[in-house]
Amino acid sequence: MKFTKDHEWVKLDGDVATVGITKHAADQLGDVVFVETPEVGKTVGKGDSFAVVESVKAASDVYAPVAGEVVEANEALSGAPETVNADAEGEGWFAKIKVSDASQLDGLMDRAAYDALLATL
């Protein structure tokens, strides 16, 4: 699993990257009440706003940590957005993105580097 400074995570399986927001991000948001996942088939650029996560107070954009085509969205979140709080880095995934170039992940942080970033916040 790799991490961005915007608190998204990516897990690559073959050429499909599962993406979501980190536990830290979910904790900061507080109670998640709505998730707008991207449409399947949509092409997203790295750093594009591709999903929205909403707490009681506010809506926050989620940025695509990798470029590619959305091949699956986590539809379960529409009925159970609280899954993002309960299991942000597992069942609370947002979408699966087919990446053309796996080297995109090279610049992302590993767990140790991400934990070190969190320690500075």
Binding site: D31, V33, E54, V56, K57, A59
Partner: protein, 369 residues
């Protein structure tokens, strides 16, 4: 980046692990354990809020009440001692400069509470217009607590039994917790409860004393906002502002009958004309029936898709389990049951005009003698 001011309870919030944010120029707790849990606790038990950022003042002098009436549309002459009344500070165009509470907790003039974000302007405006023997004294050596929820009365009665006998919108100056306090049975959640003005140097002790009761938990500004939204209560600077008249803001209950007859409040020409005819727009409640919560700034469209207004606040209602919003539309689209659309991130979602409050208010009304 301006330095945030702190309330006398700042250290207490930090000790409780609150997440702090800037609000109205103050470093305030937005949540402790979480907005949803705090919202529900207040609806079921008793929530304790630090609202010391709000502006407290006394207006005294033989002519204090008649002088104050020049700036607001409420009849404070007939208000009895021991009562308070919601009112609006109006500009000369009949726009709302602030909403406020003013009451007569004793026989020494008015006790007034205004919004944190407006207090400097409000008090400067009033100070510059003082006349005769009227004085306005800011109570900056006081904190303000609110305790709200169905168990609030039981909690407070354990400290002072007479508080159970107060009716909604009654107020008093009393010794509570060994301190000189102003107290009113009122609040901003739609629940029964009290607001208690306490000496700043006693605030932390009184806050902690109240939290010792297992029925009481601290509640942050996040839940305060979702609670007041469900109660249909406007938030100044969002749902009402200096361009909004009391008629547009659906606050005509604040226009006392005697004052309408005398037409002697700021902006009376505009306001009375809007009452007789119709205002350009009016604040309504919406049930958003699909999609994401509609937040402040979302456009409201009619059935044909023509934009007719804007959402001024909105979000999920934890009590109702659905999305609610307040906003402004032309009066012909304000009838209950009117089908409208709210546009969230470019997507129209069906919304219906519904009555406010969204969640029934549970104020304590004394049985008639």
């Amino acid at each position: 980046m301006t330095d945030l001011k702190t309330t006398p309870l700042n250290a207490a919030h930090r000790a409780l692990g609150a997440r702090m944010v800037g609000f109205g120029g103050y470093d305030m707790p937005v949540q402790y354990e979480g907005v949803l849990a705090e919202h529900r606790w207040t609806r079921e038990h008793a929530g304790l809020f630090d609202v010391s950022h709000m502006g407290q003042a006394r207006i005294t002098g033989a002519d204090a009440v008649s002088w104050f009436e020049r700036f607001v549309p409420g009849d404070y002459q007939i208000l009895k001692a021991g009562k308070q009344k919601y009112s609006l500070l109006l500009n000369d165009d009949g726009g709302i400069m602030d909403d406020l509470m003013a009451g007569k907790p004793d026989h020494a003039g008015l006790y007034v509470v205004v919004n944190a974000g407006n207090k400097e302007e409000d008090f400067a405006y009033l100070q510059s217009r003082l006349e005769g023997d009227v004085t306005l004294t800011r109570l900056e050596d006081r904190a303000l607590l609110a305790i709200q929820g169905p168990e609030a009365a039981g909690v407070m009665a354990a400290h002072e039994p007479v508080l159970a006998e107060m009716g909604f919108m009654e107020c008093a100056r009393l010794m509570l917790f060994g301190a000189d306090c102003f107290i009113s049975r009122s609040g901003y959640t739609g629940e029964d409860g009290y607001e208690i003005s306490v000496p700043a140097d006693q605030a932390e002790r009184i806050w902690n004393t109240l939290l010792e009761d297992a029925r009481v938990k601290p509640i942050g500004l996040g839940a305060r906002d979702s609670l007041r939204l469900e109660a249909g209560l406007p938030l100044y600077g969002h749902d009402i502002d200096p361009t909004t008249s009391p008629v547009e803001g659906a606050l005509t209950f604040a226009l006392s009958k005697s004052r309408r007859e005398r037409a002697d409040f700021p902006g009376a020409d505009r306001i009375l004309k809007e009452l007789a005819d119709r205002p350009a727009r009016v604040r309504i409640g919406l049930h958003v029936k699909e999609g994401a919560p509609a937040r402040e700034g979302a456009e409201i469209a009619d059935a044909d898709g023509t934009v007719v207004g804007k959402v001024t606040s909105g979000g999920p209602s934890p009590t109702l389990g659905r999305n609610i919003a307040m906003g402004y539309v032309p009066p012909h689209l304000s009838e209950l049951g009117t089908e409208l659309k709210v546009i969230v991130r470019g997507k129209p979602a069906a919304a219906t005009v519904v009555a406010m409050p969204f969640v029934a208010q549970r104020y304590y009304r004394k049985p008639k003698a």
